[in-house]
Amino acid sequence: MVRLRTSIRSTVVYSVAYGVGIIALSVIVGVLYPGIYTPMTRHALEVLAVRMLGAHEGTVSESILGVVAAAVYSPFLAALIAAFVASGAISSLFTEDRGEGVFEVLLAAPVTKRDIVLSLLVYTLLVSLLVEAVVMATASGVSLLSLYFLGYLRSLGSYYIKLSVLLVPSLTLPAALISLLLTIVAPSLGSVRTGLAPGQNVLATISLLPALVPFLVLNINPRIDPSELAFYTFILSVIITFILLLFLPRVLKEETLLR
């Protein structure tokens, strides 16, 4: 909690920036290049707009496709961004603490390896939820407001609410947990850069997968109930948490935490 308190401002700033970035990117792309949307995507956007936003069928015009895309896809993009940012934060925290000798002092203190893993886990959960909430609020908030004032938003359907409240956090959590697991098990992965985004690494890329798969599934079949998907990703989070708390401290070698 103490570490989160000190990093909260920068975490929120980055999250807002990413949230705004999502909107700007999708609106610009949608407005300037409406042809970028394939027929399948266009159809999916229309279905999702009806289900999620309560829009009338056939009312999603070319001109506002970008804004609709921002509103519809922002939960998923929020999850992807949150997973990216949280993974980076966890990897940085671990690397920094290891480099400064914090783990070494903790291992000499009346603290078990399970305690150390648990503290990293709590930090991971809090950071991922914070980032996800801020990105989601920024991206969805602005795009939904835009749709409302444009008159395309009738009411938020339960589908959108389920998506935002259930699915998005459940996508961010496994990503963050996988990142933590990989960071502890293979810390050298954190130093391999993918070049996909500044400061991102292989760990962040791998941990995105749980967030990416439901995104693709819903794009292909937008009629799937997001709460069902959320249930499965929630189960995945529980499994990873069990691995982290029950098995990892037993197999974790101290030299992984030492420089």
């Binding site: 103490v2 570490r3 000798g101 002092v105 000499a108 203190a109 603290v111 101290e254």
Partner: protein
Amino acid sequence: MMIEVRGVTAGYRGKVVLRDVNLMFHEGINIVLGPNGAGKTTLFRVCSGVLKPYKGAVLINGRDVYGDVGLKRLIGYLPHRDGLISELTVRDNLIFYANIYNISEKLNARILELAKIFNVESLLNTRVAQLSHGQRRRIALVRTLLHDPKVLLLDEPSNGLDPLAARSLRSFVKNLARRRNVVVVYSTHNLYEALELADRIAVISYGKAVFQGSLEELKHFLGGVKIGLRVRGNPLPVLSSMGYQAVRDGNMWVVEVKSEDEISRIVEELTKNNIAVIEVKEVGNPLEEILERVR
């Protein structure tokens, strides 16, 4: 209170750094000497329960330190790196670690007391990231001593400290060791520091404990100490007849001896032969030679 290092073999990722090390650290100041890469830090990590040895064990009063959470409450460990959290202030760091040791009573008073000793009171509300290396080292010392440990493991504690701070540290450690029946294990490259502090010395070289004993015993273990004799007259014939080879060095004659008894015999013999002995003193830096010889 006693630390017994029993048959410890330890290393990292299968690579052995310490081989079958047997040492005993008693109350008082135990200096650990050795060249870079000898295994001193690994020894400290094993003694503090940070690293599990491949073989053997470290016992504190008969209890294996590895995995014994209760025993770790007695240990204050200052590693090579400070172990401070950069984004937090000094006070937040100290409170964080104090909470781990369940120190709640009179915590502020304890922090202030130690901060005064190491001259860091004015830094308590400063973020650690803004401190110099020497300041961080002093804060780390405060953190190590916060829970009043009975076993102090200090891995090059004076590294990065200015001379005044280093002197203050040595003075504190000496007082602590003598007053509170504490086992202090202290590693250093500073040979004068070792000379000043040591009750006992252990020498580590290439992962093995090659010596443990008093400073005097160490000098004898290595085969001798050079003494300089300032005399009136020519001592060579007398020294040669006693089996010593003497070398002239300025106004001194340098002879290698193995014990204080030999020094007494030499002085007695020279005096008998009407050669006045004006001064006898140790020459060279025996500990530098020690490190060279065990390298």
